[in-house]
Amino acid sequence: MVLLQVEKVSKFFGGVAALNGVDFGISSGEIIGLIGPNGAGKTTLFNLITGFIRPSQGQVILEGRVISHLPPYEVASLGIIRTYQKTSIFPALTVSQNISIGHHRWSQPGFWAALFHARPHVEERAKTQARVQEILEFLEMTWAADSTARNLSYGDQRKLEMAIALSSQPKLLLLDEPAAGLNPEETLGMMRIIEKIREQGITVLVVEHDMKLVMGICERIVVLNHGTKIAEGTSEQIQNHEEVIKVYLGEEDEELN
Amino acid sequence: MELFLQQLVNGLIIGIIYSLVAIGLTVIYGIFGILNMTQGTFFMIGAFAAFFLTKNFGISYFLSIPLAMVITGAVGILVERSSVRTLRGQDHIVFLLSTSGVMVALENLALVVWGATPRQLSSPFVPEPVVILGVFLTRQKIFLFLCAAVMVFLVKWFIKTSRIGRAMRAVATDQNAAALMGIDVDRVFMVTFGLGAALSAAAGVLLGPIFGIEPLMGQLTLIKAFVVVIMGGMGNITGAFYCGLILGVAENLGAGYINVDYKDAFGLIILVLVLLFRPQGLLGRGGLR
């Protein structure tokens, strides 16, 4: 079942094509990798899918519904949640508070209930707290519940980012370089987390440079270069794909020279 | 037809005053990226400086114009040092508050010192009207327009050709790159604020003899200048010039044909409309030109 379809999407900035006719689909329950050298357009594509920018051509379709023109808040409420390359958390709040922000997607008691602390408010608080607890356990972070987010180590902050995204119960989770800055051990931990996420029924699209992670957990991989899709397939197919090798080895050649 | 011409001319005359003040404001925005709340205060300080010089030192009105500009320019530099430079690197909104603080302090200080009753800034021009093509003018108004027009031209020329002018444009485009190229960014900041203040001061001295001067004269002028800057595009000197004239004319045509009491509201309504529907201004975008 196709969850998300990126349909011949192009994005021009001035005269430059950041994305050119990119076309691929994501099925429910998959873990898809998106790779390509720096500047290939991966972040632009993410911004486009999540509604921060609009396509110059083409559309993005979620479960049969065109979403390309929707603002970020609406795309998020439809279930597409992303993390950021640069650590993005709520610095002055505690870890628990950070994670509970996610509930806004699925539980809104309403202004008046909140003002008078009526039943819907109380129920929402309880459900949210329960969910926060679940996620803290899922990510093995219960020890950090009351710590201030900005005081966490880098690796823990990245896990917190995941926690916030998870607490909104996404249908599609977009991860922007989740392993950036992580050591090999932490990277393995991250891989396990992503697989556990998929077991919960969440579809994942990962942008990563760390090939071990990509090849290790992604069923399908899409390769971008200079804004165009140059390959799509399983990890074996990609590893043996002529153009992909050229793009990556070509880079290495330049470095050697 | 006569009413139309009269209001048109009235509008151009007050309009060029708006242009002058707005050019100062827009130059400051182009370089600093901030909206300077003290721009109206400089307008007032210029007028009062001229008043002080002509009354107490017997200096001629004509000489008082450049002197007032220099004095106010110096005040401007002081303001920049104390309330802008000290907050460098912070969110732009902070400058709105710091310059507001200076504005409130200085304008009320003027109130304490001089009181609220308007004073007369005397000029050597006789107040008898001159009639040209059925339109009533005074020599002061004609002088005002010519003088202001010359100043606008000089400023544009200065920014385009002088070394500091080019440095200013560089800083307006990219502060870090300019610094890397060896431009003394600090000096540019000082000159910019001083220039903005001086222009506003000149406007105050030119308009002073016509309507009288009082400590709060800068407040409404400030808002009008904002309107002009936002209409004309931030950092756009030519835009500020034309839009100042447009605002003056619009106000006076509105006063003549619609309602004179709400004259000041026209500018405000334009401001609201422009900000809501076309925040990048009617004519322009970033940088300094």
């Binding site: 950021y84 608080r125 | 009320n108």
Partner: protein, 319 residues
């Protein structure tokens, strides 16, 4: 820990309640009441500034709207303070919605100025629509509040000390409403917006809606404060929308400390009580306020509460 906090709060409340008996002159009571009115005004501004991160320079617009609504009601229709207490925030809230909806999309300085423009337009209308508002002369003769139950109670708020407790009660209402919202998912949304607006949006927090809510609630609080002002001073004038109130309100919030509830309270007392005692002229007061605003922004951007919190944090860490 909770017991100590509870005790502290009881002492503070007790102190507030017996304050008029410590300072017994009618003049002192007057100062207390006017501080209170400014605190009401600032709590509303504090909500908007602290939780949307925006600075509505035109905020006194709502103060003036509330004041004139009840003034007109009282002099033209014979309505009372109690009607005004309901009508003023509703009117202010409606305008809060009308103005907030288009304006909240704007960035910082533009938002500040466009709200200022609205306030100026309102001021111009007040000054020029003389047939309705009597222009710069203002509307005098606004009734004082009464509580009348025939045969049982005939109570008029005509002395400062009675007003003091009324203002304290309304202040308590404000604090309760604020606290209630802040402790709910609404306050959570506000904090998220303040801490990282982009991230909040990316996890489906409707940032625009919650900013509107803060703006409207803040506007309503300003409107109600205007109603209190009108019935206490028994006269309103177009000055209410002017720079004087803008400066004081902003000073109170900034120097007191944004985003905390105690900050505006402290600031309110500081900025009304102290100048009153010093008998400074209105203009000289403004000069000092202007300087304080400048120095405050430079040296104490988090306000007094910020400094207090810093000291408290350091004290706890040191232990």
């Amino acid at each position: 820990m909770n017991q100590k906090r509870w005790l502290f709060q009881v002492i503070v409340v007790g102190f507030i309640l017996i304050l008029p008996f410590i300072f017994q002159s009618a003049y002192s009571h007057h100062i207390l009441v006017s501080s209170g009115i400014f605190i009401l005004l600032s709590l509303g501004l504090n909500l908007i500034m602290g939780y949307t991160g925006q600075m509505p320079f035109g905020y006194p617009l709502f103060f003036g709207l509330g004041a004139y609504t009840t003034a007109l009601g009282s002099t033209l229709l014979g309505t009372t303070f109690w009607h005004g207490l309901v009508a003023a925030p509703i009117v202010a809230g409606i305008f809060g919605f009308l103005i907030g909806y288009p304006c909240l999309r704007l960035r910082g300085p533009y938002f500040a100025i466009v709200t200022l423009a609205f306030a100026e337009i309102f001021g111009l209308i007040l000054k020029n629509w003389v047939s309705l508002t009597r222009g710069s002369m203002g509307i005098p003769g606004i009734s004082s509040p009464k509580i009348v139950i025939p045969g049982l109670i005939d109570f008029t708020f005509n002395r400062e000390i009675k007003w003091y407790y009324l203002v304290v009660a309304i202040c308590a209402l404000y604090l309760l409403v604020n606290r209630s919202l802040i402790r709910s998912y609404v306050g959570e949304a506000w904090l998220a917006i303040r801490e990282n607006e982009d991230l909040a949006e990316a996890v489906a927090v409707n940032t625009f809606k919650w900013k509107m809510v803060a703006f409207i609630v803040g506007a309503m609080m300003g409107g109600m404060a205007g109603c209190v002002y009108a019935h206490y001073y028994n006269i309103v004038s177009p000055d209410l929308v002017g720079l004087y109130y803008v400066t004081i309100a902003f000073n109170i919030v900034i120097i007191g400390g944004r985003g905390s509830l105690l900050g505006p309270v402290l600031g309110g007392i500081l900025f009304t009580a102290v100048p009153e005692y010093l008998r400074a002229s209105k203009d000289l007061r403004q000069v000092i306020f202007g300087v304080i605003m400048l120095l405050g922004i430079i040296f104490m951007p988090q306000g007094i509460m910020g400094v207090v919190n810093d000291i408290r944090d350091r004290w706890f860490r040191g232990r």
